[in-house]
Symmetry: C2
Subunit: 176 residues, 2 copies
């Protein structure tokens, strides 16, 4: 397996199929998560920002660090935080020692929102990801494989927390 036969066209390459399998799996899982978030009036990026803030030591993170940790650009973070501020889940706070930086801070209301949203999200992951993995006996294998790929590919997703504050060696919290 995984040695291409000569008569195969690149079109049918096994590696392409594997990537497609991963794509399809991710698309399916994330779609379910997004649908549930939408029920709470939350866009995926908004949820991720709230979650990262809540997980942060003091519930606050610099705008540019948020950008580095997510797939959004700093411009995108500005808009997302705008929307979250409008709804009272996040506030901005200026930094005492560096007046260029702006912190995004999660509010009590924002934490309450997460308390309301998280159980459903966890339930979703449990039933659509963990459960089938356990049933096929591949749960720990899967996580190990995932870590192997991530460690090889991802540069450093813990920008701004000074390498600390988030779960060690498990920097990525969010369901996009």
């Amino acid at each position: 397996m995984y040695t291409r036969r000569m008569q195969d066209r690149p079109l049918d390459d096994e590696r392409l199929t594997l990537m497609g399998l991963l794509a399809e799996t991710w698309a399916s899982l994330s779609a379910r998560g997004h649908a549930q978030l939408a029920g709470h009036g939350l866009a995926p990026a908004e949820f991720e920002v709230c979650l990262r803030l809540a997980r942060s030591p003091e519930g606050l993170l610099r705008m540019s660090d948020l950008a580095a940790q997510t797939t959004l650009t700093s411009s995108g973070i500005t808009r997302v935080v705008d929307r979250l501020v409008e709804r009272g889940w996040v506030t901005r706070r200026s930094c005492a020692t560096d007046r260029r930086t702006t912190y995004a801070v999660i509010t009590d209301s924002g934490r309450a929102l997460l308390d309301q949203v998280l159980p459903g999200q966890i339930e979703l992951v449990e039933s659509w990801l963990v459960e089938p993995l356990r049933a096929s006996g591949a749960l720990s294998d899967f996580e190990r494989a995932l870590r192997a790929v991530r460690d090889h590919a991802a540069p450093c997703a813990t920008a701004g927390s000074d390498g600390a504050g988030l779960v060690p060696a498990q920097p990525e919290p969010a369901a996009r």
Copy 2:
């Protein structure tokens, strides 16, 4: 493992972390693929459409079947095919037996484009996904786990090919 300890807040739930790991891995891999496609002037959805057409029995697929197979809506497919037609990689063909349906057909030029793009994409998957998996000895485990999740979660991604024409039991070809 994978039994939540009582003192954990939902914020630090292991299942959320696992989902985050998957999210991060997918984000990293797809970003590399997208960057390479961009070098050929291709958007991810455009590449996926071309690939699915090329893999189709006669290089043609109905618009609505393309929509069903991708994450795009039929409206989105209309626009994507518009762009591909503009650049000569795809043409539209009306159906002889049902005048409502429109086929998207890949052109020779479109196939040539794929010949040019695919090797690089395969190379990317090889070095950033297959290689680390092989190194950690988790390659076959990973695919097995992925299939378990996909089979449990994905409804049916082979719409329009009448259940045939694509790789059996491996319906998802594309790197989005």
